[in-house]
Amino acid sequence: MSEFPDPFREHRQKSGVLVCPFQGEPVPMILGYNELRRAAKDWQTFSNNAPFRVPIPSEESVRTVRQLPIETDPPEHTNYRAVTEPFFKRPLLPDVIERVRNLVGRMVERTLDRDQIEVLSEFSLPLQAKALTILLNVPESEADIWVEWGVRVFDVGDPHADGKNLDRYLTQRLDAAAAEPGADFFSYLTQAEFRGRRLTREEQMGFANLAFAGGRHTVIHTVSTIIDYFAGHPDALSFLRADARRIVPAVEEFVRIASPLTHIGRVCHKGAQALGEQVPPGGRVALCWASANRDENIFEDPDTVKLDRMPNPHVGFGSGHHSCMGAAHARLLLRSLLSALCEKVDRIERIDAQPHIEKEAAYTRITGFDRLVARFIRL
Protein backbone atom coordinates (compact mmCIF):
# COMPACT_ATOMS: atom_id res chain seq x y z
CA MET A 1 0.00 0.00 0.00
CA SER A 2 1.14 3.53 -0.71
CA GLU A 3 2.56 5.59 2.11
CA PHE A 4 -0.10 8.15 1.14
CA PRO A 5 -3.21 6.07 0.39
CA ASP A 6 -5.92 7.48 -1.87
CA PRO A 7 -9.36 6.43 -0.61
CA PHE A 8 -11.12 7.95 -3.63
CA ARG A 9 -9.35 6.20 -6.51
CA GLU A 10 -11.91 3.49 -7.20
CA HIS A 11 -14.90 5.84 -7.30
CA ARG A 12 -12.98 8.49 -9.24
CA GLN A 13 -12.08 5.95 -11.93
CA LYS A 14 -15.53 4.34 -12.01
CA SER A 15 -17.97 7.26 -11.95
CA GLY A 16 -16.06 10.33 -10.82
CA VAL A 17 -18.39 10.76 -7.88
CA LEU A 18 -18.86 9.35 -4.38
CA VAL A 19 -22.09 10.02 -2.50
CA CYS A 20 -21.24 10.39 1.17
CA PRO A 21 -23.78 11.11 3.91
CA PHE A 22 -22.81 14.03 6.18
CA GLN A 23 -25.11 14.81 9.12
CA GLY A 24 -27.75 12.72 7.36
CA GLU A 25 -27.51 14.64 4.06
CA PRO A 26 -26.29 12.61 1.08
CA VAL A 27 -23.61 14.75 -0.59
CA PRO A 28 -22.15 13.84 -4.00
CA MET A 29 -18.40 14.41 -3.82
CA ILE A 30 -16.92 15.49 -7.16
CA LEU A 31 -13.68 13.52 -7.47
CA GLY A 32 -12.14 14.16 -10.92
CA TYR A 33 -9.74 17.05 -11.47
CA ASN A 34 -11.33 18.60 -14.57
CA GLU A 35 -14.90 18.21 -13.32
CA LEU A 36 -13.93 19.72 -9.96
CA ARG A 37 -12.27 22.75 -11.52
CA ARG A 38 -15.25 23.38 -13.75
CA ALA A 39 -17.64 23.14 -10.80
CA ALA A 40 -15.44 25.47 -8.73
CA LYS A 41 -15.78 28.09 -11.46
CA ASP A 42 -19.54 27.65 -11.97
CA TRP A 43 -20.84 29.66 -9.01
CA GLN A 44 -24.27 30.12 -10.56
CA THR A 45 -24.89 26.36 -10.16
CA PHE A 46 -22.58 25.59 -7.24
CA SER A 47 -22.97 28.52 -4.88
CA ASN A 48 -21.11 29.77 -1.80
CA ASN A 49 -23.96 32.07 -0.84
CA ALA A 50 -24.97 29.96 2.16
CA PRO A 51 -23.77 30.94 5.64
CA PHE A 52 -22.41 28.00 7.68
CA ARG A 53 -23.05 25.51 4.88
CA VAL A 54 -19.91 25.87 2.76
CA PRO A 55 -17.91 23.66 5.11
CA ILE A 56 -19.09 20.06 5.31
CA PRO A 57 -20.12 19.22 7.99
CA SER A 58 -22.06 22.49 8.42
CA GLU A 59 -20.98 24.86 11.17
CA GLU A 60 -24.20 26.37 12.56
CA SER A 61 -23.40 24.86 15.96
CA VAL A 62 -19.89 26.31 16.28
CA ARG A 63 -20.13 29.84 14.97
CA THR A 64 -22.58 32.69 14.83
CA VAL A 65 -21.20 34.73 11.94
CA ARG A 66 -21.08 34.21 8.20
CA GLN A 67 -17.44 33.73 7.18
CA LEU A 68 -16.19 36.34 4.73
CA PRO A 69 -15.42 36.49 1.93
CA ILE A 70 -15.90 32.74 1.40
CA GLU A 71 -19.62 32.43 2.11
CA THR A 72 -20.69 34.79 -0.67
CA ASP A 73 -20.89 34.68 -4.48
CA PRO A 74 -19.74 37.20 -7.08
CA PRO A 75 -20.20 40.10 -7.49
CA GLU A 76 -20.54 40.56 -3.70
CA HIS A 77 -17.65 38.15 -3.17
CA THR A 78 -15.37 40.11 -5.48
CA ASN A 79 -15.89 43.28 -3.43
CA TYR A 80 -15.55 41.49 -0.09
CA ARG A 81 -12.37 39.72 -1.16
CA ALA A 82 -10.84 42.99 -2.28
CA VAL A 83 -11.23 44.31 1.28
CA THR A 84 -8.70 41.98 2.89
CA GLU A 85 -6.66 40.79 -0.09
CA PRO A 86 -3.98 43.47 0.40
CA PHE A 87 -3.39 42.27 3.96
CA PHE A 88 -3.02 38.67 2.80
CA LYS A 89 -0.40 39.74 0.26
CA ARG A 90 1.85 40.94 3.07
CA PRO A 91 3.87 37.68 2.87
CA LEU A 92 5.30 39.01 -0.40
CA LEU A 93 7.00 41.90 1.48
CA PRO A 94 10.73 41.47 2.19
CA ASP A 95 10.45 42.28 5.91
CA VAL A 96 7.58 39.81 6.40
CA ILE A 97 9.57 37.13 4.55
CA GLU A 98 12.55 37.84 6.80
CA ARG A 99 10.47 37.66 9.99
CA VAL A 100 8.88 34.33 9.04
CA ARG A 101 12.27 32.85 8.06
CA ASN A 102 13.72 34.02 11.33
CA LEU A 103 10.85 32.52 13.33
CA VAL A 104 11.09 29.14 11.61
CA GLY A 105 14.87 29.12 12.05
CA ARG A 106 14.48 29.76 15.80
CA MET A 107 11.86 27.03 16.14
CA VAL A 108 13.97 24.46 14.28
CA GLU A 109 17.01 25.45 16.33
CA ARG A 110 15.04 24.82 19.52
CA THR A 111 14.16 21.26 18.42
CA LEU A 112 17.86 20.55 17.97
CA ASP A 113 18.53 21.40 21.60
CA ARG A 114 16.06 18.74 22.73
CA ASP A 115 16.46 14.98 22.87
CA GLN A 116 13.04 14.52 21.29
CA ILE A 117 9.84 16.48 20.79
CA GLU A 118 6.16 15.84 20.25
CA VAL A 119 5.93 17.51 16.88
CA LEU A 120 2.25 18.46 16.89
CA SER A 121 2.11 20.26 20.25
CA GLU A 122 5.70 21.47 20.43
CA PHE A 123 6.38 22.39 16.82
CA SER A 124 3.54 22.43 14.25
CA LEU A 125 0.89 24.12 16.40
CA PRO A 126 3.11 26.83 17.95
CA LEU A 127 4.77 27.43 14.57
CA GLN A 128 1.41 27.96 12.89
CA ALA A 129 0.27 30.29 15.68
CA LYS A 130 3.47 32.35 15.81
CA ALA A 131 3.62 32.68 12.03
CA LEU A 132 0.03 33.92 12.08
CA THR A 133 1.05 36.72 14.44
CA ILE A 134 3.42 37.92 11.71
CA LEU A 135 0.73 37.76 9.03
CA LEU A 136 -1.76 39.61 11.22
CA ASN A 137 0.93 41.99 12.46
CA VAL A 138 0.22 41.47 16.18
CA PRO A 139 2.70 40.76 19.02
CA GLU A 140 4.14 37.23 19.04
CA SER A 141 2.82 36.76 22.58
CA GLU A 142 -0.74 36.54 21.16
CA ALA A 143 0.22 33.07 19.90
CA ASP A 144 0.24 31.80 23.50
CA ILE A 145 -3.50 32.47 23.66
CA TRP A 146 -4.20 30.87 20.29
CA VAL A 147 -2.18 27.73 21.07
CA GLU A 148 -4.48 27.08 24.02
CA TRP A 149 -7.38 26.62 21.59
CA GLY A 150 -5.82 23.46 20.14
CA VAL A 151 -5.48 22.25 16.56
CA ARG A 152 -9.01 23.35 15.64
CA VAL A 153 -10.55 26.55 16.97
CA PHE A 154 -13.89 24.86 16.61
CA ASP A 155 -14.90 21.37 15.62
CA VAL A 156 -18.42 20.17 14.86
CA GLY A 157 -19.25 17.38 17.29
CA ASP A 158 -16.56 18.29 19.83
CA PRO A 159 -18.20 20.02 22.83
CA HIS A 160 -14.79 21.36 23.92
CA ALA A 161 -14.31 23.18 20.62
CA ASP A 162 -17.55 25.13 20.28
CA GLY A 163 -16.03 28.36 18.93
CA LYS A 164 -16.97 30.52 21.92
CA ASN A 165 -13.33 31.16 22.85
CA LEU A 166 -12.72 32.55 19.40
CA ASP A 167 -15.85 34.72 19.45
CA ARG A 168 -14.91 36.21 22.82
CA TYR A 169 -11.33 36.83 21.74
CA LEU A 170 -12.27 38.47 18.43
CA THR A 171 -14.86 40.72 20.08
CA GLN A 172 -12.27 41.87 22.59
CA ARG A 173 -9.59 42.53 20.00
CA LEU A 174 -11.96 44.35 17.62
CA ASP A 175 -13.20 46.53 20.51
CA ALA A 176 -9.63 47.44 21.39
CA ALA A 177 -8.71 48.11 17.77
CA ALA A 178 -11.74 50.34 17.23
CA ALA A 179 -10.82 52.38 20.31
CA GLU A 180 -7.16 52.71 19.39
CA PRO A 181 -6.35 51.63 15.82
CA GLY A 182 -2.86 50.39 15.03
CA ALA A 183 -1.28 48.58 12.06
CA ASP A 184 -2.65 45.13 12.91
CA PHE A 185 -5.31 43.05 11.15
CA PHE A 186 -8.04 43.87 13.66
CA SER A 187 -7.48 47.59 13.23
CA TYR A 188 -7.43 47.10 9.48
CA LEU A 189 -10.89 45.49 9.68
CA THR A 190 -12.29 48.29 11.81
CA GLN A 191 -11.05 50.88 9.29
CA ALA A 192 -11.66 49.01 6.02
CA GLU A 193 -14.32 50.05 3.56
CA PHE A 194 -16.74 47.91 1.58
CA ARG A 195 -18.70 49.56 -1.24
CA GLY A 196 -18.13 53.00 0.21
CA ARG A 197 -18.97 52.27 3.84
CA ARG A 198 -17.20 50.84 6.88
CA LEU A 199 -17.59 47.10 7.61
CA THR A 200 -20.23 46.27 10.20
CA ARG A 201 -19.05 44.48 13.33
CA GLU A 202 -20.67 41.31 12.08
CA GLU A 203 -18.68 41.55 8.84
CA GLN A 204 -15.47 42.24 10.75
CA MET A 205 -16.15 39.11 12.81
CA GLY A 206 -16.83 37.15 9.63
CA PHE A 207 -13.45 38.08 8.14
CA ALA A 208 -11.60 37.48 11.40
CA ASN A 209 -13.31 34.15 12.04
CA LEU A 210 -12.12 32.82 8.69
CA ALA A 211 -8.60 34.15 9.22
CA PHE A 212 -8.31 32.00 12.35
CA ALA A 213 -10.24 28.90 11.26
CA GLY A 214 -9.15 28.61 7.63
CA GLY A 215 -5.42 28.15 7.87
CA ARG A 216 -5.09 26.37 11.15
CA HIS A 217 -5.41 22.57 11.07
CA THR A 218 -4.50 22.65 7.38
CA VAL A 219 -1.11 24.24 8.02
CA ILE A 220 -0.52 22.23 11.21
CA HIS A 221 -1.20 18.89 9.47
CA THR A 222 0.92 19.80 6.47
CA VAL A 223 3.89 20.76 8.67
CA SER A 224 3.60 17.48 10.61
CA THR A 225 3.28 15.49 7.37
CA ILE A 226 6.47 17.11 6.06
CA ILE A 227 8.40 16.34 9.25
CA ASP A 228 7.25 12.73 9.14
CA TYR A 229 8.11 12.44 5.44
CA PHE A 230 11.70 13.50 6.10
CA ALA A 231 11.89 11.00 8.97
CA GLY A 232 10.86 8.24 6.58
CA HIS A 233 13.00 9.48 3.67
CA PRO A 234 16.43 10.48 4.93
CA ASP A 235 17.68 11.13 1.38
CA ALA A 236 15.00 13.74 0.73
CA LEU A 237 16.72 16.41 2.82
CA SER A 238 20.04 15.87 1.02
CA PHE A 239 18.20 16.04 -2.30
CA LEU A 240 16.80 19.47 -1.43
CA ARG A 241 20.08 20.64 0.11
CA ALA A 242 21.90 19.86 -3.15
CA ASP A 243 19.91 22.53 -4.99
CA ALA A 244 17.94 25.19 -3.15
CA ARG A 245 15.78 25.75 -6.24
CA ARG A 246 14.09 22.44 -5.45
CA ILE A 247 12.43 23.90 -2.35
CA VAL A 248 9.67 25.75 -4.20
CA PRO A 249 8.42 22.73 -6.19
CA ALA A 250 8.87 20.50 -3.12
CA VAL A 251 6.47 22.69 -1.12
CA GLU A 252 3.85 22.46 -3.86
CA GLU A 253 4.28 18.68 -3.95
CA PHE A 254 3.82 18.40 -0.19
CA VAL A 255 0.65 20.49 -0.41
CA ARG A 256 -0.62 18.25 -3.22
CA ILE A 257 0.08 14.97 -1.44
CA ALA A 258 -1.12 16.18 1.98
CA SER A 259 -4.24 17.97 0.64
CA PRO A 260 -5.06 18.88 4.23
CA LEU A 261 -8.56 20.09 3.42
CA THR A 262 -10.26 17.00 2.00
CA HIS A 263 -13.19 18.84 0.49
CA ILE A 264 -15.45 21.87 0.68
CA GLY A 265 -19.14 22.28 -0.05
CA ARG A 266 -21.18 24.18 -2.59
CA VAL A 267 -24.94 24.71 -2.37
CA CYS A 268 -27.19 24.08 -5.39
CA HIS A 269 -29.97 26.57 -4.71
CA LYS A 270 -31.95 25.49 -7.76
CA GLY A 271 -30.85 21.85 -7.68
CA ALA A 272 -28.35 20.34 -10.11
CA GLN A 273 -27.07 17.24 -11.82
CA ALA A 274 -23.59 16.31 -10.65
CA LEU A 275 -22.09 13.48 -12.68
CA GLY A 276 -25.40 11.66 -12.86
CA GLU A 277 -26.35 12.35 -9.25
CA GLN A 278 -29.44 14.49 -8.74
CA VAL A 279 -28.97 17.25 -6.16
CA PRO A 280 -32.31 18.64 -4.86
CA PRO A 281 -32.84 22.43 -4.56
CA GLY A 282 -30.87 23.57 -1.52
CA GLY A 283 -28.77 20.39 -1.53
CA ARG A 284 -25.01 20.34 -1.66
CA VAL A 285 -22.08 18.87 -3.54
CA ALA A 286 -18.53 18.59 -2.23
CA LEU A 287 -15.48 19.59 -4.22
CA CYS A 288 -12.97 16.93 -3.23
CA TRP A 289 -9.53 18.54 -3.46
CA ALA A 290 -7.84 15.45 -2.03
CA SER A 291 -9.16 13.27 -4.83
CA ALA A 292 -8.51 15.74 -7.66
CA ASN A 293 -4.91 15.99 -6.48
CA ARG A 294 -4.50 12.25 -7.15
CA ASP A 295 -6.18 12.24 -10.55
CA GLU A 296 -4.06 9.91 -12.67
CA ASN A 297 -5.11 11.75 -15.84
CA ILE A 298 -3.29 14.85 -14.58
CA PHE A 299 -0.55 13.61 -12.23
CA GLU A 300 1.80 10.84 -13.24
CA ASP A 301 2.30 8.30 -10.46
CA PRO A 302 -0.06 10.35 -8.28
CA ASP A 303 0.46 8.55 -4.95
CA THR A 304 4.22 9.10 -5.02
CA VAL A 305 5.96 12.21 -3.67
CA LYS A 306 8.16 13.66 -6.41
CA LEU A 307 9.87 16.63 -4.85
CA ASP A 308 10.74 18.13 -8.23
CA ARG A 309 7.34 17.49 -9.83
CA MET A 310 6.83 20.03 -12.62
CA PRO A 311 4.32 21.03 -13.77
CA ASN A 312 2.20 20.48 -10.69
CA PRO A 313 -1.22 22.04 -11.25
CA HIS A 314 -2.55 20.87 -7.87
CA VAL A 315 -5.65 22.24 -6.19
CA GLY A 316 -4.38 22.01 -2.62
CA PHE A 317 -5.20 25.71 -2.19
CA GLY A 318 -8.53 25.35 -3.95
CA SER A 319 -9.41 26.65 -7.40
CA GLY A 320 -11.22 29.59 -8.90
CA HIS A 321 -12.31 32.83 -7.27
CA HIS A 322 -12.48 31.28 -3.78
CA SER A 323 -8.91 29.96 -3.89
CA CYS A 324 -7.16 30.20 -0.53
CA MET A 325 -6.40 33.79 0.50
CA GLY A 326 -3.76 32.55 2.94
CA ALA A 327 -1.85 30.64 0.27
CA ALA A 328 0.99 33.18 0.06
CA HIS A 329 1.44 32.98 3.83
CA ALA A 330 1.29 29.17 3.88
CA ARG A 331 3.80 28.97 1.05
CA LEU A 332 6.17 31.35 2.82
CA LEU A 333 5.90 29.32 6.02
CA LEU A 334 6.48 25.97 4.28
CA ARG A 335 9.33 27.24 2.09
CA SER A 336 10.98 28.71 5.18
CA LEU A 337 10.53 25.38 6.95
CA LEU A 338 12.24 23.41 4.19
CA SER A 339 15.07 25.97 4.02
CA ALA A 340 15.64 25.83 7.77
CA LEU A 341 15.59 22.03 7.82
CA CYS A 342 18.09 21.90 4.93
CA GLU A 343 20.32 24.39 6.66
CA LYS A 344 20.30 22.95 10.17
CA VAL A 345 19.08 19.34 10.24
CA ASP A 346 21.01 16.25 9.18
CA ARG A 347 18.14 13.84 9.70
CA ILE A 348 14.90 13.31 11.62
CA GLU A 349 14.11 10.09 13.48
CA ARG A 350 10.52 9.05 14.02
CA ILE A 351 10.00 7.68 17.53
CA ASP A 352 6.23 7.34 17.70
CA ALA A 353 3.42 8.26 15.35
CA GLN A 354 -0.34 8.24 15.60
CA PRO A 355 -2.01 9.42 12.39
CA HIS A 356 -5.04 11.69 12.42
CA ILE A 357 -7.84 9.78 10.75
CA GLU A 358 -10.83 11.48 9.14
CA LYS A 359 -13.54 8.84 9.28
CA GLU A 360 -16.73 9.51 7.35
CA ALA A 361 -19.56 7.19 6.35
CA ALA A 362 -18.19 6.57 2.83
CA TYR A 363 -14.42 6.98 3.22
CA THR A 364 -11.57 7.01 5.69
CA ARG A 365 -8.59 9.26 5.13
CA ILE A 366 -5.35 10.11 6.93
CA THR A 367 -4.95 13.90 7.08
CA GLY A 368 -2.00 14.38 9.45
CA PHE A 369 -1.09 13.33 12.95
CA ASP A 370 -2.66 13.32 16.40
CA ARG A 371 0.74 12.57 17.86
CA LEU A 372 4.19 12.45 16.34
CA VAL A 373 7.32 12.06 18.44
CA ALA A 374 10.59 12.70 16.66
CA ARG A 375 14.25 13.47 17.20
CA PHE A 376 15.95 16.16 15.12
CA ILE A 377 19.68 15.55 14.57
CA ARG A 378 21.90 18.55 13.93
CA LEU A 379 23.77 18.86 10.62
Binding site: K89, N312, A327
Partner: protein
Amino acid sequence: MASITFITPSGATRTVERKDGSLMEAAVQNGVEGIDADCGGVCSCATCHIHVEPEWVDRVGPPGSAERALLELQDVTNERSRLACQVRINDALDGLVVRVAAR
Protein backbone atom coordinates in the same frame (compact mmCIF):
# COMPACT_ATOMS: atom_id res chain seq x y z
CA MET B 1 20.53 38.01 -24.00
CA ALA B 2 16.91 38.87 -24.62
CA SER B 3 15.14 42.14 -24.01
CA ILE B 4 11.57 41.55 -22.81
CA THR B 5 8.89 44.22 -22.44
CA PHE B 6 5.97 43.79 -20.04
CA ILE B 7 2.93 46.07 -20.35
CA THR B 8 1.00 46.06 -17.08
CA PRO B 9 -2.79 46.38 -16.69
CA SER B 10 -2.35 50.01 -15.63
CA GLY B 11 -0.49 50.70 -18.88
CA ALA B 12 3.02 50.98 -17.45
CA THR B 13 5.83 49.56 -19.60
CA ARG B 14 8.79 47.71 -18.14
CA THR B 15 11.67 46.37 -20.22
CA VAL B 16 14.11 43.87 -18.70
CA GLU B 17 17.23 42.14 -19.98
CA ARG B 18 17.62 38.43 -19.29
CA LYS B 19 19.48 35.54 -20.87
CA ASP B 20 17.68 32.52 -19.40
CA GLY B 21 15.10 31.36 -16.87
CA SER B 22 11.40 31.94 -17.30
CA LEU B 23 9.40 35.05 -18.20
CA MET B 24 7.85 34.80 -14.72
CA GLU B 25 11.26 34.95 -13.00
CA ALA B 26 12.23 37.92 -15.12
CA ALA B 27 9.02 39.71 -14.13
CA VAL B 28 9.20 38.90 -10.42
CA GLN B 29 12.85 39.88 -10.08
CA ASN B 30 12.04 43.21 -11.64
CA GLY B 31 8.87 43.82 -9.66
CA VAL B 32 6.53 43.81 -12.65
CA GLU B 33 3.07 44.70 -11.35
CA GLY B 34 0.41 42.01 -11.72
CA ILE B 35 2.77 39.01 -11.83
CA ASP B 36 2.33 37.52 -8.35
CA ALA B 37 3.58 34.02 -9.23
CA ASP B 38 2.27 32.62 -5.95
CA CYS B 39 3.24 29.01 -6.65
CA GLY B 40 6.79 29.88 -7.65
CA GLY B 41 6.57 28.50 -11.16
CA VAL B 42 5.12 24.98 -10.99
CA CYS B 43 2.05 25.82 -13.09
CA SER B 44 -0.45 25.63 -10.23
CA CYS B 45 -1.80 29.12 -9.53
CA ALA B 46 -2.19 31.04 -12.83
CA THR B 47 -1.10 34.30 -11.18
CA CYS B 48 1.45 34.97 -13.94
CA HIS B 49 -1.02 35.08 -16.80
CA ILE B 50 0.14 37.10 -19.82
CA HIS B 51 -1.10 37.82 -23.32
CA VAL B 52 1.61 37.57 -25.95
CA GLU B 53 1.55 40.32 -28.57
CA PRO B 54 0.24 38.90 -31.88
CA GLU B 55 3.50 39.11 -33.81
CA TRP B 56 5.28 37.00 -31.16
CA VAL B 57 2.76 34.19 -30.74
CA ASP B 58 4.50 31.76 -33.13
CA ARG B 59 7.92 32.25 -31.60
CA VAL B 60 6.67 31.87 -28.02
CA GLY B 61 4.69 28.75 -28.93
CA PRO B 62 1.52 27.19 -27.53
CA PRO B 63 0.85 26.17 -23.90
CA GLY B 64 1.38 22.61 -22.71
CA SER B 65 -1.56 20.49 -21.55
CA ALA B 66 -1.40 21.33 -17.82
CA GLU B 67 -0.99 25.02 -18.63
CA ARG B 68 -3.87 24.94 -21.10
CA ALA B 69 -6.14 23.33 -18.50
CA LEU B 70 -5.39 26.15 -16.05
CA LEU B 71 -5.83 28.86 -18.68
CA GLU B 72 -9.18 27.50 -19.87
CA LEU B 73 -10.72 28.42 -16.52
CA GLN B 74 -9.39 31.97 -16.33
CA ASP B 75 -11.80 34.78 -17.12
CA VAL B 76 -9.52 36.75 -19.42
CA THR B 77 -8.00 33.92 -21.44
CA ASN B 78 -7.66 34.36 -25.18
CA GLU B 79 -5.78 32.55 -27.96
CA ARG B 80 -2.60 34.48 -27.04
CA SER B 81 -2.64 33.56 -23.36
CA ARG B 82 0.33 31.91 -21.66
CA LEU B 83 1.53 31.47 -18.10
CA ALA B 84 4.82 33.34 -17.80
CA CYS B 85 6.32 30.59 -15.63
CA GLN B 86 6.09 28.15 -18.51
CA VAL B 87 7.84 30.35 -21.11
CA ARG B 88 11.61 29.88 -21.20
CA ILE B 89 13.69 32.84 -22.28
CA ASN B 90 16.19 32.42 -25.12
CA ASP B 91 17.85 34.63 -27.69
CA ALA B 92 15.02 34.07 -30.17
CA LEU B 93 12.72 36.02 -27.83
CA ASP B 94 14.85 39.17 -27.93
CA GLY B 95 12.40 42.07 -28.32
CA LEU B 96 9.37 40.12 -27.05
CA VAL B 97 6.40 42.19 -25.86
CA VAL B 98 3.75 40.71 -23.54
CA ARG B 99 0.79 42.19 -21.68
CA VAL B 100 0.13 41.22 -18.07
CA ALA B 101 -3.46 39.94 -17.89
CA ALA B 102 -5.79 41.92 -15.66
CA ARG B 103 -7.35 39.96 -12.76
